[in-house]
Symmetry: C2
C-alpha cells in the first residue's frame, strides 16, 4: 500500500511537508506543493483515514440518525443528504432507529465508540434532546423539527413551519365545506415534543377560527408513521366516528395506508371521504387518486442541513434555526361538500 512515507521518498520532501500539502496548510512553498501533488496523483495516493482520525482525535463519519425507518419521507431526505455529504468529500454513516426510540441516547452511544464529527437527525423528539443532548459536543443538525427553544449552541435545526402548515390544511378543508374532520398520526403521549404537536396546534387554531368543534376523543387517532399504521388508525377512527367526511394524515406514508383502509371499508376517496397528507413524497404523485398534501422542500432541507453542518465542523460557524418554505399541492383526494 502507498503511504505518506512513499510520497515523501518519491517527492524528495519529508512526510511533514507531504502532510501539509495534503491538508492545504498555507506554509508550503509553491514548488514543494506542486511536486508533492504530482507524486500523489501519479501514485493515486489516498491518505489512510484511520491514522488521520486517530491523530486528530475526531473520529470518522458524519452520522445520520433516521428516526422511523418506515417513514418514506425520510428516505428521500436521507438519499439527498448522503449524496451531498459524499460530494463534499465527507464520509457518512447511517443509523436507522425505530420511530419511538431515543435518538439522543443512540447518538451518545455512537459518540463513545466512534466519535463522529457530527450528527444529522432526521426526525427527533424535543424531550429527548432537552434531557440528554448536553452530553453531545459535536455540531449537530435536527431536520423536520425546530430546536430553537432548546438553545443548544451546537444544535441547528431546519423545518417547515408545522404550525402554519397544519393551520392551512384544516382551513382548506373547512373552506371546502367539511365540518367533520378527523386527524391521524403521531402519538398523544408525547405531545409537546414531537413534530405532531406543532401540526396539531395549527389545526386547532384553524378549527377555532372556522367555528368548528374539535373533540380529540372522537376525531383524533394516533398512528405510527407507516402505511400499516395509517391503515389501522383509519379503521379505528371511522368506526368510532362514521360522520367524518375528511381526514388529515400528518404524513404521506400514513395517508397511503389510510386511502387503502377507506377503500377496504367500502368507501371512496374523495367521494365519501376526502384526505390530505403531509410531506409531498414522490409516491403521493402516483396514488389513485393523487394525494392532496403539504409539500416539504426535501432538497432545501437537505441542502441547508448539510451546508450548515459542514460550515460548523470546519469553520466553527454558529448554529442556526431556520424555517423552510412549503406549499400545498392540490391533488385529487379532496372534494367540496355542501351540507
Amino acid at each position: 500500500m502507498t503511504t505518506i512515507k512513499d510520497i515523501a521518498r518519491l517527492s524528495g520532501y519529508s512526510i511533514g511537508t507531504v502532510s501539509r500539502v495534503i491538508n492545504n496548510h498555507p506554509d508550503v512553498s509553491e514548488e514543494a506543493r506542486e511536486k508533492v501533488e504530482q507524486v500523489i496523483r501519479e501514485q493515486n495516493f489516498k491518505p489512510n483515514s484511520n491514522a488521520k482520525q486517530l491523530k486528530q482525535q475526531s473520529n470518522s463519519a458524519i452520522t445520520i440518525i433516521v428516526k422511523g425507518y418506515e417513514n418514506m419521507f425520510f428516505e428521500s431526505i436521507l438519499e439527498r443528504v448522503q449524496a451531498m455529504l459524499i460530494d463534499s468529500g465527507e464520509e457518512a454513516a447511517v443509523a436507522f432507529l425505530d420511530e419511538y426510540a431515543n435518538e439522543v441516547q443512540a447518538a451518545i452511544q455512537l459518540s463513545a465508540s466512534r466519535k463522529p464529527k457530527g450528527f444529522i437527525f432526521l426526525g427527533g423528539n424535543l424531550e429527548f434532546f432537552r434531557q440528554d443532548f448536553h452530553n453531545i459536543d459535536v455540531p449537530s443538525v435536527l431536520l423536520t423539527n425546530t430546536a430553537e427553544e432548546l438553545g443548544f449552541p451546537n444544535l441547528s435545526s431546519f423545518t417547515i413551519d408545522d404550525m402554519e402548515a397544519g393551520y392551512k390544511v384544516i382551513d382548506y378543508l373547512a373552506k371546502k365545506g367539511h365540518t367533520e374532520i378527523g386527524i391521524i398520526g403521531g402519538s398523544a403521549s408525547q405531545i409537546g415534543s414531537q413534530i405532531g404537536f406543532r401540526r396539531m396546534a395549527g389545526c386547532e387554531k384553524a378549527f377555532a377560527e372556522n367555528g368548528i368543534e374539535f373533540v380529540e376523543e372522537k376525531q383524533y387517532e394516533p398512528s405510527r408513521f407507516s402505511m400499516s399504521g395509517g391503515y389501522e388508525s383509519t379503521q379505528k377512527l371511522l368506526k368510532k366516528n362514521p360522520k367524518i367526511t375528511a381526514i388529515f394524515a400528518i404524513g404521506d406514508t400514513i395517508a397511503i395506508g389510510a386511502m387503502r383502509a377507506i377503500k377496504d371499508m367500502g368507501y371512496s376517496v374523495p367521494d365519501d371521504i376526502s384526505i390530505i397528507g403531509y410531506d409531498g413524497i414522490e409516491s403521493s404523485r402516483y396514488t389513485i387518486p393523487r394525494l392532496t398534501t403539504i409539500r416539504q422542500d426535501t432538497e432545501a432541507l437537505a441542502k441547508k442541513g448539510v451546508e450548515d453542518i459542514l460550515l460548523r465542523i470546519n469553520y466553527n460557524h454558529p448554529s442556526s434555526n431556520e424555517l423552510i418554505a412549503f406549499h400545498m399541492i392540490e391533488g385529487e383526494s379532496v372534494i367540496r361538500i355542501n351540507k
Copy 2:
C-alpha cells in the same frame, strides 16, 4: 477520554492483557479476564475503533452499495441489512449510486481511501463485476443477482430464481387468457448482465411454451427502476401498441408508475389492462387496486447476506451462491379475459 491505558492501570494488568480480553483471546486467565471486564464495565470503556483499525490494517465499516436509489425495493433490504449488521456490533456505511453507475468502480474507490472490511452490493451489473471485481480483495456479497458464473472466491451472491419467476409471471398471464402482453423495465443495452436479463429469459420461455408471440419492438419498453420511469415507459408502450391487455413491470416501483399512467390515459386496471409487478414491496399492498406481484423474501435475503459476510470476514468461510424462495402474491390487478 478513557483509553486502554486507563483500564490497564485500574485493573492492575498490562495493556497487552487488556487488549487480549477485549478481543476474546483464549490465553488469558479467568481471573484477569474477570477483573478487566469489570473495570471496562465500570468505566463504560469503548475501544477507539480508529486505533484498532489502524493496527489491523483493515479499515472501517462494512459498506453497503445501493444501486438505484429510486428503487423502493432496495430501501427495505437496506434497512434490514443495516439493522442486522448493527446488532452484530459491526459498523455499516452506505453509498447510494445511480442505477446505471458502475458499482464495482465505486467500491474500488472506497477501498483505496477507507478499506472497508467488506462490501454488500444491493443490485449489480455482472459485466462490471467481470471486468473489475478482481481489484477487490475483501469478502463481498451481491444481493438480487447471481455471481455464480463469475467464480470469484471472495464474492457470494443471493437472489431469487429470476428466470423461474419471470416464467411464472408470463405463464400466469397466458393462463388467464392474455395474448398481448407488454413488458417494461430494465435496459436493452445491458442485456446479459443485468437482473432484467434473467427475468426476460424466463418470460421468453413462457411465451414459447404457451404459443404466444413476443416481438421485442412492439412489446418491450426499457425503464429505470423508478415510478417516473414506469410512468413514461407505460405511456410509450401503450401508444406504440394499443392492443396490449397486460403488462409485466419487472419491479414494483415501476409497476406503481405504470398503474398511474394507465389511469391517466383513461384506462382502468385491471378491467382494461392487467398488471403484474415484481419484488413485493410494502407499497404494493396499499395500491388501489392491490398489485399482483412476485414477492422476494427481503428478510431472508438480508439475513443470508449478512450472515455470509460475517462468517467470511471473521472465519474465512468460503463464499457461496444461493437461491432464495419467492412466491407470487395474487392481488387485484389481474383479470381473466376471454377472446
